[in-house]
Amino acid sequence: MIIIAPYAQKLRTGKENPKNYPYWKELIEMIDEPIVQVGVEGEQQLVPDFRKNLPIFELRKLLKECRTWIGVDSFFQHLAWDEGVLGIVLWGPSDPLIFGHPENINLLKDRSYLVGNQFIWWEATEHSNDRFIKPKEIIPHLKE
Protein backbone atom coordinates (compact mmCIF):
# COMPACT_ATOMS: atom_id res chain seq x y z
CA MET A 1 0.00 0.00 0.00
CA ILE A 2 1.14 3.53 -0.83
CA ILE A 3 0.08 6.62 1.10
CA ILE A 4 -0.43 9.86 -0.75
CA ALA A 5 -0.54 13.20 1.07
CA PRO A 6 -1.38 15.42 -1.88
CA TYR A 7 -1.99 18.84 -0.38
CA ALA A 8 -0.16 21.42 1.67
CA GLN A 9 -2.05 23.52 4.19
CA LYS A 10 -4.83 25.69 2.82
CA LEU A 11 -3.89 29.34 2.47
CA ARG A 12 -5.72 32.06 4.37
CA THR A 13 -6.46 33.83 1.10
CA GLY A 14 -8.29 30.78 -0.30
CA LYS A 15 -5.83 30.65 -3.22
CA GLU A 16 -4.23 27.35 -4.09
CA ASN A 17 -1.10 26.62 -2.12
CA PRO A 18 1.81 26.99 -4.57
CA LYS A 19 3.39 23.85 -3.08
CA ASN A 20 0.51 21.65 -4.28
CA TYR A 21 1.43 19.17 -7.00
CA PRO A 22 -0.84 19.69 -10.03
CA TYR A 23 -0.76 16.26 -11.71
CA TRP A 24 -2.06 13.88 -9.06
CA LYS A 25 -4.80 12.33 -11.22
CA GLU A 26 -2.34 11.41 -13.97
CA LEU A 27 0.14 10.10 -11.43
CA ILE A 28 -2.44 7.95 -9.65
CA GLU A 29 -3.48 6.37 -12.95
CA MET A 30 0.08 5.16 -13.42
CA ILE A 31 0.31 3.50 -10.00
CA ASP A 32 -0.58 -0.17 -9.85
CA GLU A 33 -0.83 -0.54 -6.08
CA PRO A 34 -3.49 0.16 -3.44
CA ILE A 35 -3.42 3.81 -2.45
CA VAL A 36 -4.59 5.48 0.73
CA GLN A 37 -5.04 9.23 0.62
CA VAL A 38 -4.57 11.21 3.83
CA GLY A 39 -5.59 14.78 4.38
CA VAL A 40 -8.21 16.98 5.92
CA GLU A 41 -11.86 17.78 5.34
CA GLY A 42 -12.36 20.01 2.34
CA GLU A 43 -9.52 18.61 0.24
CA GLN A 44 -10.30 16.97 -3.06
CA GLN A 45 -10.71 13.18 -2.89
CA LEU A 46 -8.43 11.50 -5.42
CA VAL A 47 -8.81 7.80 -4.56
CA PRO A 48 -11.64 5.73 -3.04
CA ASP A 49 -9.83 5.32 0.29
CA PHE A 50 -9.53 8.86 1.64
CA ARG A 51 -8.85 9.06 5.39
CA LYS A 52 -9.56 12.52 6.65
CA ASN A 53 -8.44 14.32 9.80
CA LEU A 54 -6.54 11.39 11.26
CA PRO A 55 -4.82 12.17 14.56
CA ILE A 56 -1.05 12.03 14.55
CA PHE A 57 -0.86 8.63 16.23
CA GLU A 58 -3.17 7.14 13.55
CA LEU A 59 -1.01 8.61 10.82
CA ARG A 60 2.05 7.09 12.44
CA LYS A 61 0.31 3.71 12.57
CA LEU A 62 -0.63 3.98 8.92
CA LEU A 63 2.92 4.88 7.99
CA LYS A 64 4.14 1.66 9.59
CA GLU A 65 1.80 -0.29 7.32
CA CYS A 66 2.69 1.35 3.99
CA ARG A 67 5.36 0.34 1.48
CA THR A 68 6.14 3.98 0.83
CA TRP A 69 4.44 7.33 0.43
CA ILE A 70 4.27 10.30 -1.92
CA GLY A 71 3.64 13.83 -0.72
CA VAL A 72 4.39 17.48 -1.17
CA ASP A 73 6.20 19.89 1.12
CA SER A 74 3.78 19.64 4.01
CA PHE A 75 3.91 18.43 7.60
CA PHE A 76 3.43 14.83 6.38
CA GLN A 77 6.95 14.59 4.93
CA HIS A 78 8.31 15.58 8.35
CA LEU A 79 6.09 13.10 10.16
CA ALA A 80 7.13 10.23 7.90
CA TRP A 81 10.79 11.18 8.30
CA ASP A 82 10.30 11.28 12.05
CA GLU A 83 8.74 7.83 11.85
CA GLY A 84 11.69 6.59 9.75
CA VAL A 85 9.53 5.71 6.74
CA LEU A 86 11.09 7.07 3.59
CA GLY A 87 9.13 8.30 0.61
CA ILE A 88 8.94 10.70 -2.30
CA VAL A 89 8.44 14.45 -1.95
CA LEU A 90 7.30 16.45 -4.97
CA TRP A 91 8.84 19.90 -4.72
CA GLY A 92 7.82 23.13 -6.44
CA PRO A 93 8.63 26.60 -5.10
CA SER A 94 10.11 25.60 -1.73
CA ASP A 95 13.68 24.45 -1.26
CA PRO A 96 14.30 20.79 -0.34
CA LEU A 97 17.74 21.70 0.98
CA ILE A 98 16.04 23.81 3.65
CA PHE A 99 12.71 22.12 4.27
CA GLY A 100 13.40 18.59 3.08
CA HIS A 101 15.20 15.57 4.46
CA PRO A 102 17.99 13.98 2.42
CA GLU A 103 16.80 10.49 3.43
CA ASN A 104 13.76 10.93 1.18
CA ILE A 105 13.62 11.03 -2.60
CA ASN A 106 13.23 14.74 -3.20
CA LEU A 107 12.03 15.42 -6.75
CA LEU A 108 12.56 19.02 -7.80
CA LYS A 109 12.22 20.01 -11.44
CA ASP A 110 14.86 22.69 -11.28
CA ARG A 111 16.23 25.06 -8.67
CA SER A 112 15.40 27.98 -10.95
CA TYR A 113 11.74 27.44 -10.05
CA LEU A 114 12.34 28.02 -6.35
CA VAL A 115 11.04 31.32 -4.99
CA GLY A 116 13.73 33.83 -4.09
CA ASN A 117 12.67 34.31 -0.50
CA GLN A 118 11.89 30.96 1.10
CA PHE A 119 10.70 32.48 4.34
CA ILE A 120 7.75 34.63 3.38
CA TRP A 121 4.13 33.57 3.64
CA TRP A 122 3.16 31.30 0.75
CA GLU A 123 0.16 33.55 0.11
CA ALA A 124 2.58 35.85 -1.71
CA THR A 125 3.48 33.18 -4.30
CA GLU A 126 1.29 32.22 -7.24
CA HIS A 127 0.73 28.57 -8.02
CA SER A 128 2.30 27.41 -11.28
CA ASN A 129 2.16 23.95 -12.84
CA ASP A 130 5.45 24.67 -14.58
CA ARG A 131 7.37 24.29 -11.34
CA PHE A 132 6.69 20.56 -11.01
CA ILE A 133 8.02 17.44 -12.68
CA LYS A 134 5.68 15.29 -14.78
CA PRO A 135 4.16 12.03 -13.40
CA LYS A 136 6.11 9.75 -15.74
CA GLU A 137 9.35 10.98 -14.17
CA ILE A 138 8.11 9.93 -10.75
CA ILE A 139 7.18 6.32 -11.53
CA PRO A 140 10.77 4.97 -11.80
CA HIS A 141 11.50 6.35 -8.32
CA LEU A 142 8.42 4.63 -6.96
CA LYS A 143 9.90 1.31 -8.01
CA GLU A 144 13.23 1.92 -6.21
Binding site: H78, W81, I98, F119
Partner: protein, 322 residues
Protein backbone atom coordinates in the same frame (compact mmCIF):
# COMPACT_ATOMS: atom_id res chain seq x y z
CA UNK B 1 37.62 46.86 10.54
CA UNK B 2 34.14 46.75 12.10
CA UNK B 3 31.53 49.08 10.58
CA UNK B 4 29.95 51.20 13.29
CA UNK B 5 26.52 52.79 13.17
CA UNK B 6 25.77 55.52 15.67
CA UNK B 7 22.08 55.58 16.53
CA UNK B 8 20.37 58.43 18.35
CA UNK B 9 16.68 58.40 19.26
CA UNK B 10 15.30 61.86 19.96
CA UNK B 11 12.10 63.49 21.12
CA UNK B 12 11.46 67.04 22.32
CA UNK B 13 15.10 68.09 22.43
CA UNK B 14 15.79 69.79 19.10
CA UNK B 15 17.12 72.93 20.73
CA UNK B 16 18.41 71.74 24.09
CA UNK B 17 20.68 68.71 24.45
CA UNK B 18 20.44 67.08 21.00
CA UNK B 19 22.81 69.60 19.34
CA UNK B 20 25.37 68.90 22.06
CA UNK B 21 25.12 65.18 21.41
CA UNK B 22 25.47 65.60 17.65
CA UNK B 23 28.50 67.82 18.08
CA UNK B 24 30.08 65.26 20.38
CA UNK B 25 29.47 62.42 17.94
CA UNK B 26 30.85 64.38 15.00
CA UNK B 27 34.01 65.11 16.94
CA UNK B 28 34.88 61.62 18.07
CA UNK B 29 38.53 60.66 17.69
CA UNK B 30 37.32 57.41 16.10
CA UNK B 31 34.64 58.56 13.67
CA UNK B 32 31.52 56.50 13.22
CA UNK B 33 30.79 55.06 9.78
CA UNK B 34 27.25 56.33 9.80
CA UNK B 35 25.12 58.52 12.04
CA UNK B 36 21.39 57.93 12.09
CA UNK B 37 18.99 60.12 14.01
CA UNK B 38 15.54 58.68 14.67
CA UNK B 39 13.24 61.65 15.13
CA UNK B 40 10.35 60.53 17.34
CA UNK B 41 8.92 64.01 17.90
CA UNK B 42 5.17 64.42 17.96
CA UNK B 43 5.56 67.24 15.45
CA UNK B 44 8.78 66.55 13.60
CA UNK B 45 10.57 69.38 11.83
CA UNK B 46 12.88 69.62 8.86
CA UNK B 47 16.11 70.38 10.68
CA UNK B 48 17.94 71.21 7.45
CA UNK B 49 16.32 74.62 7.79
CA UNK B 50 17.96 75.30 11.14
CA UNK B 51 21.30 77.07 11.01
CA UNK B 52 23.04 75.00 13.68
CA UNK B 53 21.89 71.75 12.11
CA UNK B 54 22.97 72.95 8.68
CA UNK B 55 26.47 73.25 10.10
CA UNK B 56 26.29 69.79 11.64
CA UNK B 57 25.24 68.22 8.35
CA UNK B 58 28.01 70.05 6.53
CA UNK B 59 30.56 68.93 9.11
CA UNK B 60 29.42 65.33 8.65
CA UNK B 61 29.74 65.66 4.88
CA UNK B 62 33.18 67.25 5.19
CA UNK B 63 34.35 64.44 7.43
CA UNK B 64 32.96 61.80 5.11
CA UNK B 65 30.52 60.46 7.67
CA UNK B 66 27.34 59.14 6.13
CA UNK B 67 24.25 60.44 7.92
CA UNK B 68 20.52 59.93 7.82
CA UNK B 69 17.59 61.61 9.56
CA UNK B 70 14.64 59.26 9.92
CA UNK B 71 11.15 60.16 11.11
CA UNK B 72 10.34 57.36 13.55
CA UNK B 73 6.97 55.76 14.11
CA UNK B 74 6.31 56.88 17.69
CA UNK B 75 6.25 53.42 19.20
CA UNK B 76 9.12 54.00 21.60
CA UNK B 77 12.86 53.76 21.49
CA UNK B 78 13.00 49.95 21.62
CA UNK B 79 11.47 49.91 18.13
CA UNK B 80 14.01 52.50 17.02
CA UNK B 81 16.94 50.58 18.44
CA UNK B 82 15.72 47.37 16.86
CA UNK B 83 15.73 49.11 13.49
CA UNK B 84 19.31 50.20 14.06
CA UNK B 85 20.16 46.70 15.32
CA UNK B 86 19.04 45.16 12.04
CA UNK B 87 20.58 47.62 9.57
CA UNK B 88 23.49 45.34 8.73
CA UNK B 89 26.28 47.07 10.66
CA UNK B 90 28.76 45.08 12.75
CA UNK B 91 28.42 47.33 15.77
CA UNK B 92 25.92 49.92 16.92
CA UNK B 93 26.77 52.74 19.27
CA UNK B 94 23.51 53.84 20.84
CA UNK B 95 23.32 57.25 22.46
CA UNK B 96 20.49 59.04 24.21
CA UNK B 97 19.62 62.55 23.08
CA UNK B 98 20.79 63.99 26.38
CA UNK B 99 23.95 61.92 26.81
CA UNK B 100 27.07 63.75 25.66
CA UNK B 101 30.09 61.53 25.08
CA UNK B 102 33.61 62.85 25.57
CA UNK B 103 35.64 62.85 22.33
CA UNK B 104 37.50 59.59 23.05
CA UNK B 105 34.53 57.45 24.05
CA UNK B 106 34.05 55.44 20.90
CA UNK B 107 37.81 54.99 20.44
CA UNK B 108 38.08 53.54 23.94
CA UNK B 109 34.95 51.43 23.77
CA UNK B 110 36.03 49.71 20.58
CA UNK B 111 39.44 48.83 22.04
CA UNK B 112 37.64 46.29 24.22
CA UNK B 113 35.53 44.78 21.47
CA UNK B 114 37.10 41.34 21.10
CA UNK B 115 35.45 38.30 19.52
CA UNK B 116 33.42 37.17 22.53
CA UNK B 117 32.25 40.61 23.55
CA UNK B 118 28.60 41.59 23.11
CA UNK B 119 28.48 45.10 24.53
CA UNK B 120 30.83 47.67 26.03
CA UNK B 121 29.81 50.71 28.04
CA UNK B 122 31.64 53.42 29.91
CA UNK B 123 30.66 55.75 32.73
CA UNK B 124 27.44 57.70 32.30
CA UNK B 125 27.74 60.53 34.79
CA UNK B 126 24.93 62.75 35.98
CA UNK B 127 26.39 65.53 38.12
CA UNK B 128 26.24 66.12 40.99
CA UNK B 129 25.31 62.46 41.64
CA UNK B 130 28.48 60.40 41.60
CA UNK B 131 28.19 57.18 43.60
CA UNK B 132 31.19 55.01 44.32
CA UNK B 133 30.61 52.06 42.04
CA UNK B 134 34.00 50.42 42.49
CA UNK B 135 32.51 47.46 44.34
CA UNK B 136 29.39 47.11 42.21
CA UNK B 137 28.84 43.60 40.90
CA UNK B 138 26.83 44.47 37.80
CA UNK B 139 24.90 41.24 38.31
CA UNK B 140 21.28 41.16 37.23
CA UNK B 141 20.25 39.76 40.61
CA UNK B 142 21.47 42.95 42.26
CA UNK B 143 19.78 45.37 39.93
CA UNK B 144 17.40 46.62 42.61
CA UNK B 145 19.95 46.69 45.42
CA UNK B 146 22.98 48.44 43.95
CA UNK B 147 23.57 51.50 41.74
CA UNK B 148 24.32 50.88 38.11
CA UNK B 149 28.04 50.55 37.58
CA UNK B 150 27.90 53.17 34.83
CA UNK B 151 26.65 55.83 37.22
CA UNK B 152 30.10 56.13 38.79
CA UNK B 153 33.65 56.54 37.55
CA UNK B 154 34.77 53.19 36.18
CA UNK B 155 38.44 52.65 37.02
CA UNK B 156 39.02 49.20 35.57
CA UNK B 157 37.42 46.81 33.11
CA UNK B 158 34.70 44.78 34.74
CA UNK B 159 32.52 42.03 33.36
CA UNK B 160 28.88 42.70 34.17
CA UNK B 161 25.52 41.26 33.15
CA UNK B 162 23.77 44.38 31.92
CA UNK B 163 24.34 47.98 30.85
CA UNK B 164 22.11 50.99 30.48
CA UNK B 165 21.65 54.23 28.56
CA UNK B 166 24.54 54.27 26.10
CA UNK B 167 26.92 51.56 24.96
CA UNK B 168 28.48 49.96 21.90
CA UNK B 169 27.04 46.57 21.00
CA UNK B 170 27.32 43.72 18.55
CA UNK B 171 24.43 44.12 16.13
CA UNK B 172 22.06 41.48 14.87
CA UNK B 173 22.65 38.78 17.47
CA UNK B 174 19.98 39.66 20.01
CA UNK B 175 16.66 41.47 19.58
CA UNK B 176 15.14 44.30 21.58
CA UNK B 177 11.93 43.29 23.31
CA UNK B 178 9.24 44.93 21.20
CA UNK B 179 6.53 43.85 23.62
CA UNK B 180 7.45 46.68 25.99
CA UNK B 181 5.25 49.77 26.16
CA UNK B 182 6.20 53.09 24.60
CA UNK B 183 8.21 54.08 27.66
CA UNK B 184 10.37 51.02 27.04
CA UNK B 185 11.29 50.76 30.70
CA UNK B 186 14.27 48.36 31.15
CA UNK B 187 14.70 47.98 27.38
CA UNK B 188 18.46 48.36 27.43
CA UNK B 189 18.80 46.17 30.51
CA UNK B 190 16.79 43.41 28.86
CA UNK B 191 18.78 43.82 25.66
CA UNK B 192 22.25 43.67 27.20
CA UNK B 193 21.19 40.90 29.57
CA UNK B 194 19.97 39.02 26.47
CA UNK B 195 23.47 39.34 24.98
CA UNK B 196 24.91 38.07 28.25
CA UNK B 197 22.53 35.08 28.15
CA UNK B 198 23.74 34.31 24.65
CA UNK B 199 27.22 33.89 26.05
CA UNK B 200 28.72 37.24 25.11
CA UNK B 201 30.75 39.29 27.56
CA UNK B 202 29.27 42.57 28.70
CA UNK B 203 31.97 45.00 29.78
CA UNK B 204 32.04 48.20 31.79
CA UNK B 205 35.26 49.99 30.87
CA UNK B 206 37.27 53.03 32.01
CA UNK B 207 38.19 56.16 30.01
CA UNK B 208 34.89 56.37 28.19
CA UNK B 209 32.84 59.01 29.97
CA UNK B 210 29.48 60.22 28.81
CA UNK B 211 27.79 63.12 30.57
CA UNK B 212 24.13 62.42 31.03
CA UNK B 213 22.46 65.83 31.19
CA UNK B 214 19.16 64.45 32.30
CA UNK B 215 16.79 66.89 30.77
CA UNK B 216 13.38 67.05 32.42
CA UNK B 217 11.95 68.42 29.18
CA UNK B 218 11.28 66.05 26.29
CA UNK B 219 12.94 62.70 26.00
CA UNK B 220 12.07 59.52 24.27
CA UNK B 221 10.55 58.16 27.49
CA UNK B 222 8.43 61.21 28.22
CA UNK B 223 5.35 59.21 29.07
CA UNK B 224 4.07 59.34 32.58
CA UNK B 225 1.46 56.59 32.61
CA UNK B 226 2.25 54.31 35.51
CA UNK B 227 0.61 51.32 33.84
CA UNK B 228 3.27 51.40 31.13
CA UNK B 229 6.10 51.15 33.63
CA UNK B 230 4.29 48.43 35.53
CA UNK B 231 3.66 46.48 32.34
CA UNK B 232 7.33 46.66 31.37
CA UNK B 233 8.53 45.89 34.87
CA UNK B 234 6.39 42.75 34.89
CA UNK B 235 7.93 41.56 31.61
CA UNK B 236 11.37 42.23 33.06
CA UNK B 237 10.51 40.23 36.19
CA UNK B 238 9.14 37.36 34.09
CA UNK B 239 12.36 37.24 32.09
CA UNK B 240 14.40 37.12 35.28
CA UNK B 241 12.15 34.54 36.89
CA UNK B 242 12.60 32.20 33.94
CA UNK B 243 16.25 32.96 33.28
CA UNK B 244 17.49 29.51 34.23
CA UNK B 245 15.39 28.05 31.46
CA UNK B 246 16.00 28.11 27.74
CA UNK B 247 12.79 29.71 26.54
CA UNK B 248 11.43 27.92 23.49
CA UNK B 249 8.49 29.44 21.62
CA UNK B 250 7.11 27.37 18.76
CA UNK B 251 4.63 29.70 17.13
CA UNK B 252 4.86 27.79 13.85
CA UNK B 253 3.46 24.90 11.84
CA UNK B 254 2.97 21.26 12.72
CA UNK B 255 5.83 20.12 10.50
CA UNK B 256 8.15 22.65 12.15
CA UNK B 257 7.25 21.16 15.53
CA UNK B 258 8.13 17.68 14.28
CA UNK B 259 11.51 18.86 13.00
CA UNK B 260 12.12 20.72 16.24
CA UNK B 261 11.45 17.56 18.25
CA UNK B 262 14.86 16.34 17.04
CA UNK B 263 16.56 19.40 18.53
CA UNK B 264 14.72 19.52 21.85
CA UNK B 265 16.72 16.78 23.62
CA UNK B 266 19.89 18.85 23.22
CA UNK B 267 18.42 21.97 24.82
CA UNK B 268 19.28 22.53 28.45
CA UNK B 269 16.38 23.05 30.83
CA UNK B 270 13.85 24.12 28.19
CA UNK B 271 10.61 25.93 28.98
CA UNK B 272 8.47 25.27 25.94
CA UNK B 273 5.51 27.20 24.56
CA UNK B 274 3.83 25.34 21.76
CA UNK B 275 1.01 25.32 19.21
CA UNK B 276 0.88 21.51 19.05
CA UNK B 277 1.22 20.07 22.55
CA UNK B 278 0.46 16.61 21.16
CA UNK B 279 3.81 16.81 19.31
CA UNK B 280 5.84 18.97 21.70
CA UNK B 281 4.30 19.26 25.16
CA UNK B 282 4.35 22.72 26.69
CA UNK B 283 2.47 25.83 27.67
CA UNK B 284 0.37 27.86 25.27
CA UNK B 285 1.62 30.58 22.94
CA UNK B 286 -0.80 32.99 24.61
CA UNK B 287 1.05 32.40 27.87
CA UNK B 288 4.39 33.19 26.23
CA UNK B 289 2.94 36.41 24.91
CA UNK B 290 1.58 37.28 28.33
CA UNK B 291 4.89 36.58 30.07
CA UNK B 292 7.40 38.08 27.68
CA UNK B 293 5.40 40.60 25.66
CA UNK B 294 7.19 39.87 22.44
CA UNK B 295 7.63 36.46 20.85
CA UNK B 296 8.92 37.60 17.46
CA UNK B 297 12.54 36.87 18.41
CA UNK B 298 11.48 33.21 18.38
CA UNK B 299 10.08 33.36 14.85
CA UNK B 300 12.31 30.83 13.11
CA UNK B 301 11.25 31.96 9.62
CA UNK B 302 12.09 35.57 10.38
CA UNK B 303 15.44 34.45 11.75
CA UNK B 304 16.23 32.31 8.70
CA UNK B 305 15.39 35.27 6.51
CA UNK B 306 17.62 37.52 8.62
CA UNK B 307 20.47 34.98 8.51
CA UNK B 308 20.02 34.48 4.74
CA UNK B 309 19.75 30.85 5.67
CA UNK B 310 20.38 28.05 3.19
CA UNK B 311 20.88 25.16 5.58
CA UNK B 312 18.23 22.83 6.92
CA UNK B 313 15.36 23.86 9.14
CA UNK B 314 16.68 21.55 11.84
CA UNK B 315 20.05 23.29 11.80
CA UNK B 316 18.32 26.67 11.97
CA UNK B 317 16.63 25.54 15.17
CA UNK B 318 19.99 24.38 16.49
CA UNK B 319 21.47 27.80 15.75
CA UNK B 320 18.59 29.49 17.53
CA UNK B 321 18.50 27.40 20.67
CA UNK B 322 21.88 25.71 21.20
Amino acid sequence: MSKILCSIATRGRYFTTLPLVLNAVINQTRPVDKLIVFDDNDEPQDMRKEMIYQYFFQMLDQKGIEWEWVYADKKGQHHIHQRANSMGYDLVWRIDDDAIPEPNVLENLIKHFDVGVGAVGGSVLTPPYLPDTSTISGAIDNIDSEPNIQWGKIEQVKQVEHLHCTFLYRAGVCDYNLGLSRVAHREETLFTYGLHRKGYQILAVPNAVTWHMKNPQGGIRSETRREMFEHDEQIFKNVLKNRHHTIVVLNCGLGDHIVFSHVLPAISNPLVFTCYPEVIPGKSIAEAFELFGDIEPYNIYKKMDQWKWNGSLEDAYRKMYL
